[in-house]
């Protein structure tokens, strides 16, 4: 007889969602979190996209500690001197809120509280060392020699899943699996943010940047999100690119970003409140391990469910939905009293049928595009040439716009067959 029906390791969005779902269907569930309070070791950009939480917490937006709803979503290329971007602001984003900026220390603490309210037992400050295995089946967790038993364990450890790795359920992370995220939270008065970003009260701005100007030719992405009275700003650099460079300090790269002529004014007068960093799961489909086995399932970042398609960085939404899928799979197994690998097969089916695995498949190989010199160097340089051509007024007759585009492409070495292939590849993978 097990002490718990299920144990969930890790109280982030995946783990808390799984625990809430399980507790709501009267399962005896333990949610174990190494930090205290929960959330105090967690970092994300971050924008929580989607409405996944509504499945477990109706009207979650009313009580969740969200910062602002995203009503302006932008993407921009930055060169040394320029910003070339697209802004999308819409009344439609206000009516149908699709994303909220969040701060994880606040959000995750709230989620853990919701799990407790739903009936889960939540323990903080306890680090799971390894899985307890009996007869080839995971039947609990171990900590300092103590065993807590359960019929199954759902691993939701985040982007650095030590228990899954130590138990051989996930291969040690390698360069192609991860990027390094470095972030700063800059305090600014709410009104200043509203004025600076042209936002109504409660509305937010979220932008992802392609950084094509960093020293050493490093390719990195930037992000800037408005919170209620602070700004989250940061960079994401792939491990393999930083390794190839081997001359740039990750903690200095963010300074290069925040000093850009079109980023610095957005942060001006702000006071840094926090510096943070975390691995980011970036490998996409090829990083995803076997998701289930005898007595266990893996969800969220631990399973590699996070990536950027170049326009938007997502992860928390996949975490929530995979956590719920794992809980539902457990509930079905519970009815059969069968916690073998075979019984958890429907976890994969649930994910394949949902947008989680579909997105992973649709955007497989996107990393080759988002982390390419083509996107980081050639495209921004070409766009800058084109814009200068379009808007320079030199008192001379203007060229036809098509001619300008061709000139811009040619000046930036983009009319070659290889560049056309790059363009084709980019369009296909996006």
């Amino acid at each position: 007889m097990s002490e718990f029906d299920a144990i969930v390791v890790g109280a982030g969005p995946a783990g808390a969602s799984a625990a809430i779902r399980l507790a709501s269907s009267k399962k005896n569930v333990l949610l174990v979190e190494k930090s205290d309070p929960p959330g105090s070791k967690n970092v994300s950009g971050g924008v929580l996209w989607g409405n996944g939480l509504s499945a477990i917490i109706p009207d979650w937006e009313k009580s969740a500690p969200v910062e602002r709803f995203v009503d302006t979503k932008s993407v921009a290329f930055l060169t040394q001197d320029s910003k070339i971007g697209i802004d999308f602001s819409s009344k439609k984003l206000e009516q149908k809120k699709t994303g909220y900026t969040v701060l994880r220390a606040r959000l995750d603490q709230w989620l853990a509280r919701k799990a407790k309210e739903a009936g889960a037992m939540v323990i903080n400050g306890v680090t799971v060392e390894k899985l307890h295995v009996e007869d080839g089946r995971v039947t609990g967790i171990e900590q300092d020699g103590d065993v807590i038993t359960s019929d199954a364990v759902i691993l939701c450890e985040g982007a650095n899943p030590r228990v899954a790795i130590n138990s051989g359920l996930r291969k040690p992370l390698s360069d192609h699996d991860v990027a390094i995220g470095v972030k700063e939270v800059i305090k600014l008065p709410e009104n200043t943010i509203n004025e600076r970003f042209h936002l109504k009260s409660g509305a937010g701005f979220a932008c992802e940047y392609v950084l094509g100007y960093l020293k050493g030719g490093l390719e990195a992405g930037g992000f800037l999100y408005t919170n209620k009275d602070s700004i989250s700003v940061g960079i994401v650099v792939s491990m393999s690119h930083l390794r190839k460079n081997n001359a740039t300090y990750s903690y200095n790269m963010i300074e290069e970003f925040t000093a850009h002529p079109y980023i610095a004014p957005l942060l001006q007068g702000g006071e840094m409140q926090e510096y943070s960093a975390h691995l980011v799961q970036e490998g996409g489909l090829r990083s995803i391990p076997k998701l289930f086995g005898n007595g266990y399932m893996i969800a969220g970042d631990s399973a590699g469910f996070s990536f950027s398609n170049g326009l938007v960085l997502q992860g928390m939404n996949y975490a929530i939905d995979s956590g719920i899928a794992a809980a539902d799979t457990f509930a079905a197994a519970y009815d059969r009293k069968n916690y073998t690998e075979n019984s958890f097969k429907s976890y994969q089916d649930r994910l394949e049928a949902s947008y989680v695995m579909r997105d992973m498949r649709t955007f497989k190989g996107i990393g080759d595009v988002t982390w390419s010199p083509f996107v980081h160097k050639k495209v921004p340089a070409m766009l800058e040439t084109l814009m200068m051509g379009l808007f320079m007024e030199e008192g001379r007759p203007k060229k036809h716009m098509t001619r300008m585009l061709l000139d811009a492409l040619s000046q930036n070495d983009m009319l070659r067959v290889s560049s056309l292939m790059d363009t084709y590849r980019m369009m296909r993978r996006m």
Binding site: K34, K41, N160, P172, R243, Y251, Y275, H278
Partner: protein
């Protein structure tokens, strides 16, 4: 802002009796790249007179170094007993 100043904004509950990350100095001694010194966002790995110096106390538990080290010098475990970094915002 210097990284040291940025790190000074953070709250830690330092575990004085347990280092959650350890390195093998003999491996670091002959390391050809010392990529950890560039990759670690908390400047826990520094070269002092050509020798690698590591301190776990400033670690923000991001997980970077264990992937960054291609020479199997880094052993990474989770902090215990709610020790380590405590973010207010995250």
């Amino acid at each position: 802002m210097k990284i040291e100043d940025r790190l000074s904004l953070l709250n830690y509950k330092t575990d004085k009796s347990y280092a959650h990350i350890t390195i093998k100095p003999d491996i670091c001694e002959t390391c050809p790249d010392h990529f950890c010194t560039f990759a670690c966002p908390a400047k826990c790995y520094t070269l002092i007179d050509g020798r690698l110096n590591f301190k776990y106390e400033d670690c923000v538990e991001c997980g970077t170094c264990v992937v960054a080290c291609a020479h199997d010098s880094v052993t990474w475990t989770n902090t215990k007993g709610a020790h380590g970094i405590k973010y207010k915002f995250g």
